[in-house]
């Protein structure tokens, strides 16, 4: 992974000192809460319902075991013993004291971490494929490009006061595991007819109140032009993005109102003027960053292992987990392992300090001392030898991190909702837990196959309900929390926005409604191989409406 230079370290230390000064000015009353807000919001510190919330950046979702231990230490020392992994591959702490925050940032800086640009109207942490570098369907590792974007966007002087927040995602594989279509800018590595790699550039995707799928504004951008092109997009957005209405300020609205073709023209015109500047990436600039992400020395192993096969046959519980939570690895004899943060006992994405320490130890023992975070709020150990899987599973089971549900219905994305969030209008965690508890039968969940359920506690859609196969949106209607159901969304390469099926359900009816939707699917699917989304796209809303409201 990327190793900090002396200058990277220095930048963090200077930033911590600067923030320490701002906190002191606030504590002494020299800054009002309102004035301090402008400063803390540039450093990931929000004021929530009960306390401050600190969001720590995990660049493109990649963590070392040492960094994970620091995250555990922070959870233990400054919080209530846990942290929450978010849909942006970051981690959030819900209970820090303001006066402790500079010390937390010091601890983070010691392991090359920070909270820079995890909030505010600036370019946020760049997200990526959690299988980057190990996926079998990968064209090229996206992480060197993510790192270049990280450096380019960090304290970018021109783009730190944008109309609204700005999120960039990069994917390098055939299958999109980074949800590039629902980001302000999504980059997908592709190859052209000459077999060169470059980017497809999508602009103006996003969720929130006005969900939109990103528009393809360039079908092939040479890699060398990546940063000049991003700079051109951001410059057009900074000048023309709306600032009169908070809810119309994202770039998706600009692209929509300007029109895709006109927007493309504006970007290309600006880009022509800056494409030959110092931001142009020479081959050696890209190659230098790539040296941080070269493959580790993998052992030369056969892909099958007799002992593993026997363990599968001998232990049905292990076999279930292996069937659900493993992914093939590009290297023979290795597997990618998903650590499910979706057990029935913890809110989605929550991890205790003890679990974090244990995960760090497991990463050291089994997976080259690295951990990845995913936008579906799970963790990944990316380089586990097949012969180690059984031992790893036993330890994960003890830690309650082996629920066999990856990409299945109980692998629920949920925002913190009204239990924590100052913006929320309804609770979301209790609904996700009710679903998880109701549908705890492995065979049933397994039979449903590939299925996503996402829950948001307000229309800002942090729980990504728009892009779930089954989305649940909590809203407040005359003082009562009610839940709308959307069907047919996807965040993958076939991205689509789900459609509201009808009137909302009361809190005590919403899980029954989900159950009804599943019944219709099971009844209508052509065969057990037909996934929920395929069935839905084939038969439309009608049969679901009839069952729910008929």
């Amino acid at each position: 992974m990327y190793q900090y230079s002396e200058q990277d370290h220095q930048l963090l230390l200077e930033r911590v000192e600067q923030f320490r000064g701002q906190v002191q000015r606030r504590l002494k009353g020299q800054l009002s809460e309102d004035e301090f807000k402008q400063q803390r919001l540039r450093n990931g510190l929000y004021l929530q319902l009960h306390a401050y919330m600190l969001r720590v950046a995990i660049p493109y979702g990649l963590l070392s075991a040492e960094q994970m231990r620091t995250l555990a230490h922070i959870a233990r020392k400054y919080d209530k013993g846990y942290g929450h992994f978010s849909t942006r591959q970051n981690i959030q702490y819900n209970w820090p004291q303001l006066e402790d925050v500079p010390d937390i940032l010091d601890d983070l800086a010691a392991v090359e971490m920070h909270a820079i640009q995890t909030s505010g109207n600036c370019i946020r942490n760049t997200t990526s494929d959690p299988l980057a570098g190990v996926a079998r369907d990968e064209l090229e590792d996206p992480r060197p490009y993510c790192e270049l974007i990280r450096q380019w966007s960090t304290f970018h002087p021109e783009f730190n006061f944008l109309p609204r927040k700005f999120k960039i995602a990069v994917s390098g594989a055939v299958h999109d595991r980074a949800a590039v279509a629902v980001h302000d800018i999504g980059l997908r590595l592709v190859s052209n007819a000459e077999d060169e790699t470059g980017f497809e550039i999508y602009v103006g995707g996003g969720l929130g109140r006005t969900p939109m799928i990103g528009k393809l504004i360039r079908d092939f951008l040479p890699k060398e032009d990546m940063l000049t092109y991003l700079e051109a997009i951001l410059r057009v957005y900074n000048q023309l993005g709306r600032r009169d209405n908070l809810y119309k300020a994202r770039i998706k609205i600009l692209v929509h109102e300007t029109g895709e073709d006109k927007f493309r023209e504006l970007v290309e015109e600006e880009w022509q003027k800056i494409k030959a500047t110092g931001l142009y990436l020479r081959e050696q600039d890209i190659d230098r960053i790539k040296t941080f992400f070269i493959d580790p020395e993998y052992d030369d192993l056969p892909d099958s292992d007799l002992e593993f096969e026997n363990q599968l046959l001998g232990n049905p519980e292990f076999a279930r987990w292996a069937d659900k939570n493993l992914e093939l690895h590009k290297q023979s004899g290795y597997r990618v392992v998903y650590l499910s943060l979706k057990s029935a006992h913890q809110p989605p994405g929550d991890v205790t300090a003890d679990q974090m320490d244990a995960i760090a130890d497991l990463a050291d023992k089994y997976s080259l001392s690295q951990i990845r975070t995913t936008h579906r709020q799970n963790l990944v150990l990316s380089d586990v030898k097949v012969k180690d899987l059984y031992g790893l599973w036993l330890e994960l089971k003890d830690l309650d991190l082996a629920t066999p549900n990856y990409n299945h219905m109980t692998d629920i994305i949920s925002c913190p909702g009204l239990d924590f969030c100052a913006l929320a209008t309804a609770r979301s965690i209790p609904i996700s837990q009710e679903i998880t508890n109701r549908f705890d039968d492995y065979d049933f969940v397994n039979d449903l196959g590939d299925l996503s359920i996402n829950i948001s506690g307000c229309i800002n859609a942090c729980g990504h309900h728009h892009v779930a196969n089954i989305g649940i949106l909590g809203v407040n209607k005359k003082g009562t929390e009610v839940y709308q159901l959307t069907l047919g969304g996807s965040a993958r390469e076939d991205a689509s926005i789900g459609k509201i099926i009808g009137p909302a359900f009361e809190a005590d009816q919403i899980v029954d409604a989900v159950s009804d939707v599943l019944t219709v699917y099971l009844d209508k699917r052509e065969d057990p191989e037909e996934a929920f989304l395929t069935t839905y796209r084939r038969i439309g809303q009608g049969p679901f409406k009839e069952k729910l409201y008929g």
Partner: protein
């Protein structure tokens, strides 16, 4: 008085804003700056004077409208109506990087300590701070961060190209 920083020092503001131009007799003496509309409508009259001239732009104005005039101007005033409104950052970069303006670029409006670092990187060299800002404390803003990653008006190359 006393809210003006130029070239990283507290300074005396020698410029006077001027609007309401009717004829050449109504023009004051001394260094003045006028809004873009007046510059466009009375360019020749203004150029007939014997002192320095500046133009103030709204942050929605297209800076290319004055690109051919920049040699005759000594000051361009850009505005930050709210701290969060960062359009003038781009205007400043275009003035310096694209149109080669060498005179004073001044930030006015909601200008606070914490933006100064970014402003100077985009080509601003003068600042009218919002009233109540601690001027001496604000001077630290120029030096409290020393590492920069990306090119801007002050750096032609990104950090990865500076020592190779």
């Amino acid at each position: 008085m006393g809210n003006y920083i130029k070239d990283r020092k507290l300074a005396e503001d020698e410029w006077m804003p001027f609007t309401g131009l009717e004829d050449s007799d109504s023009l004051p003496t001394g260094d003045i700056y006028v809004p873009l509309e007046e510059w466009v409508s009375a360019r020749d009259m203004l150029l007939g004077r014997n002192s320095r001239l500046g133009v103030s732009l709204k942050n929605t104005d297209d800076v290319s409208l004055i690109k051919d005039d920049l040699e005759r101007l000594d000051l361009v005033v850009l505005e930050f109506p709210k701290m969060a409104d960062g359009r003038a950052f781009t205007q400043a970069r275009l003035l310096r990087d694209r149109y080669g303006f060498k005179g004073e670029i001044r930030a006015t409006g909601d200008v606070l300590h914490d933006q100064l670092f970014y402003m100077q990187r985009c080509g601003f060299n003068a600042f009218e701070l919002r009233s109540g800002e601690d001027l001496t404390g604000s001077l630290k803003a120029f030096t409290e961060m020393t590492v920069t990653y990306q090119p801007a008006t002050d750096e032609e190359f990104p950090i990865w190209r500076r020592d190779t």
